[in-house]
């Protein structure tokens, strides 16, 4: 499920990795850097979440990439080309940018908002229109006709974020920067938009740098997570499973919170455990609570605990796939956990 290098979408001819090469940012008048020698690589097609405490330099790191903020030292390369070699305005037009509160133009309709970059790039009208329709379908705002002419004030927060994402994708940029794009949404809408975005990300495979201060969001979405500490220092950069199992230091462990173990269980589905267990045992016990195959171990554990049972019956479209025991849920077979984080993507 990670975006391995064999994924056709991500191995398209152009390399669009983002490399932070000893990136430091010291704002004028500050005596400590906001970002201190950040050294990470976001591979082509990867989704990397930047997390950390407020003031940890996440937004700064993001804005350095599209040059809304100037580097103090170090270099950032997109696809092997230094961002300093590209005029800032031109660079920005090749980077999708979505921010909290969506940043939609309140005086533009949905269609006009999505068309901003295509218009700057002087696409012809019919191409822009086709693209707009395609994108609205992609983000699930259908029937398209009923959304095109609306103003942002006529949309809910979640709908605005969807339009914001569509707008960022408009000119098909190889790279996406997203700064807490779902930060203002209520938990339920947030989950829905996260799922949708993940689906879109898997479909379009853009190199994505995603800022969030919600660690659960990062665990759910990211191929790899970069955790920043106060002072803009990188604390750890690894897959969600690795970060949860082997936090690099006290700070990371604390940042992940007391439920770190449970969060780890959210990375694996019961289906994956069943596959890993190989010998499908089917005890006749029928009072086990039922769970769907695609629920996470964490959710299954909650169901089992609520039912006071010792296991769960795994169902898929009405048919019984097999059973998982409480022990399977709490201590899943190692190969089930690895299934999701297949390729070792460490630097």
């Amino acid at each position: 499920m990670t975006h391995s290098s064999t994924d056709p979408k991500t191995t398209s001819t152009t390399n669009s990795s983002i490399v932070f090469d000893h990136v430091t940012k010291l704002y004028p008048g500050q005596n400590a850097p906001a970002l201190d020698s950040l050294d990470i690589e976001v591979k082509s097609g990867e989704l990397v979440c930047l997390v950390g405490p407020s003031g940890g330099g996440k937004t700064t790191a993001l804005q350095l990439v599209n040059r809304l903020v100037d580097l103090s030292s170090g270099d950032i390369r997109i696809g092997d080309r230094s961002i300093m070699d590209i005029p800032a305005i031109e660079l920005r037009r090749t980077i999708g940018y979505a921010i909290q509160q969506s940043g939609l133009f309140p005086h533009y309709t949905v269609a006009e908002n999505i068309a901003i970059v295509p218009n700057i790039l002087k696409w012809d009208k019919s191409r822009t229109t086709r693209r707009t329709v395609e994108l609205l379908e992609l983000v699930g705002l259908t029937p398209v006709d009923s959304w095109l002419g609306r103003y942002p004030s006529q949309l809910s927060g979640g709908q605005q974020q969807r339009v914001g994402i569509a707008r960022a994708l408009a000119a098909d940029p190889p790279v996406m920067l997203m700064d807490e794009p779902f930060g203002a949404l209520d938990p339920i809408t947030r989950m829905a938009v996260q799922d949708e975005f993940l689906e879109i990300h898997r479909a379009v495979g853009k190199t994505t740098l995603f800022v969030t201060h919600d660690i659960d969001e990062a665990i759910k979405m990211a191929d790899r997570i970069a955790i920043l500490k106060p002072g803009g220092k990188l604390a750890q950069y690894d897959t969600p499973a690795e970060v949860l199992t082997h936090p690099a230091d006290e700070f990371v462990a604390e940042f992940l919170g007391a439920e770190r173990g449970l969060k780890r269980l959210a990375l694996t589905t019961v289906a994956e455990v069943l596959v890993a267990k190989a010998e499908p045992e089917r005890p006749a016990e029928s009072d086990l609570p039922k769970v769907e195959a695609d629920v996470t171990l964490r959710e299954a554990l909650s169901v089992v605990s609520a039912a006071g049972a010792h296991g769960a019956r795994v169902m898929e479209r009405g048919s019984h796939l097999g059973d998982v025991t409480l022990h399977d849920l709490v201590d899943p077979p190692a190969n089930a956990v690895d299934a999701r984080n297949g390729e070792g993507v460490g630097l």
Binding site: R92, Y97, L104, F105, P106, H107, R167
Partner: protein
């Protein structure tokens, strides 16, 4: 003021068959108003409209340019604002007095004074409108690769429009009213029938001219409201 008051013409001409109302100098004689519309009211009304429009247009151009400069170079906002406020606080009659030695008893004198009064209002309105453009909208605009001119034309000015329009409305209504004082300088505009009627009190004339000034203010204000609506369709789009 001795030099510049052209008042004093006889106001109630003897038209032979004057109505009861006119002879008694009633508060408002409709028949006389209708009879005299073409000579006493209509020409000053037209002059008045021109006077106001010229002043507001010129004031807008100057104040708008000044506001753009002040927006770009923030340190200029203070000094420009002080100058504009100073011009605004001068009593209109004093400003006329001040200008007459240079520009004479002319329309130019009047327009300069009127423009001075519009400046501060429009300047502040444009500046406030630009300053109120949401930061996240600007950030995403720049992040998408809009250059400075595109940012101004596509984002900042449109979003400042509601504030600019309300500034224009205040400036226009104010100018309609201040322009009546222009009669002290030139025999033009709705101030001149009022001034004449004041020196030889005939109610219908100054009430009629005064009412026309009020009506004109309402009409111009209403027109600007309509223009504002047309230019800012998103402001009405609420579910």
């Amino acid at each position: 003021m001795s030099g510049i008051a052209p008042a004093g013409d006889p106001v109630i001409p003897d038209y032979g068959q004057a109505s009861e109302c006119v002879i008694n100098n009633g508060p408002f004689c409709g028949d006389w108003f209708v009879d005299q519309w073409a000579t006493v009211f209509w020409p000053p009304l037209v002059d008045h409209i021109y006077m106001v429009i010229i002043a507001v247009v010129i004031g807008f151009v100057i104040a708008f340019a000044a506001a753009l400069i002040a927006y770009r170079k923030r340190w200029l906002a203070g000094p420009i604002g002080i100058v504009a406020t100073f011009l605004y606080t001068l009593p209109p009659l004093a400003l006329f007095q001040l200008l007459v030695p240079f520009t004479g008893l002319t329309l130019l004198t009047v327009e300069i004074a009127l423009v001075c009064f519009t400046l501060v209002i429009i300047f502040q309105a444009v500046l406030a409108g630009l300053a109120a453009v949401p930061e996240d909208v600007k950030r995403s605009a720049i992040g998408m690769g809009l250059n400075q001119r595109q940012l101004m034309v596509k984002v900042e000015l449109p979003l400042a429009l509601p504030s600019i329009i309300s500034g224009l409305r205040i400036a226009t209504v104010l100018t309609v009213s201040v322009a009546t004082i222009a009669a002290f300088v030139v025999d033009s505009g709705l101030g001149s029938p009022i001034l004449k009627a004041v020196s030889s009190p005939f109610n219908t004339q100054f009430i009629g001219a005064g009412a026309l000034a009020v009506l004109l203010a309402f009409v111009l204000d209403g027109l600007l409201v309509i223009v504002g609506r047309v230019l800012t369709p998103w402001m009405r789009a609420r579910v």
